[in-house]
């Protein structure tokens, strides 16, 4: 079973502060994703990566940066947190790209509150 670990599990930040959400996967998956989930919305893609050193913008990248320093780690960075970024954030990894089947494996989520 794929293991995706997010930290912290919960975070309270102040407006204008810097927040870093971390994600680690131990299954050597190439693809990693950051989503946020808000009531009434499905998970929305913020940034993704298809390997170490790569980051790509998703559907709602504004206000977020991402970093993929290694195959295992993918971070989401809020340089200047705002209350609108209060949400639950999910990291996922995927085991294939291209035409091959891919299953997403999710972390347990990080609940971020920006005051």
């Amino acid at each position: 079973e794929a293991a995706v670990t997010q930290s912290p599990r919960n975070k309270v930040a102040v407006t204008g502060g810097k927040v870093t959400l971390s994600c680690n996967q131990t299954n050597n998956h190439n693809n990693m994703y950051w989503y946020r989930q808000d009531t009434g919305h499905g998970l929305r893609l913020i940034h993704y990566s298809y390997g170490a050193g790569s980051t790509e913008k998703g559907d709602i990248p504004d206000g977020y940066k991402a970093s993929r320093p290694s195959q295992e780690n993918f971070s989401l960075i809020l340089e200047l947190a705002t209350p609108s970024q209060t949400s639950v954030y999910f990291c996922a990894s995927g085991d294939a790209g291209g035409a091959r089947a891919e299953t997403l494996y999710f972390g347990s989520g990080t609940r971020l509150t920006v005051l």
Partner: protein, 108 residues
């Protein structure tokens, strides 16, 4: 952009009964994945389908890319099935679009 319409948004079932969740897609999708968000907030993989149907215990899912829909059938619902169910459609090599979720409550 690519859209996923998931229905119903909420559902109550008595134990032992069943129902179906559905996701309609505005474009042809490459595959679909179904998840359940449990009481701890974790997203649990249920199915990944590139075509056809899959069954696992009391759950069965179907995906028809040509007709642009996927379904998740739950039979003999149990209390532990309660949670929010999401479908996610794979639109490209690295992109999934999620439905808004179905909140399922199973009642004793």
């Amino acid at each position: 952009g690519d859209q996923v319409e998931q229905s119903p948004s909420a559902l109550s079932l008595h134990e032992g009964t069943g129902s179906a969740l559905r996701c309609n897609f505005t474009t042809t999708m490459r595959a679909v994945q179904w998840f359940r968000k449990n009481s701890r907030g974790s997203l649990i993989n249920l199915f990944y389908l590139a075509s056809g149907t899959k069954e696992n215990g009391r759950l069965k899912s179907a995906f028809d890319s040509k007709e642009r829909y996927s379904t998740l059938h739950i039979r003999d619902a149990q209390l532990e099935d309660s949670g929010t169910y999401f479908c996610a459609a794979r639109t490209g090599n690295y992109k999934y679009v999620f439905g808004a979720g179905t909140r399922l409550k199973v009642i004793a």
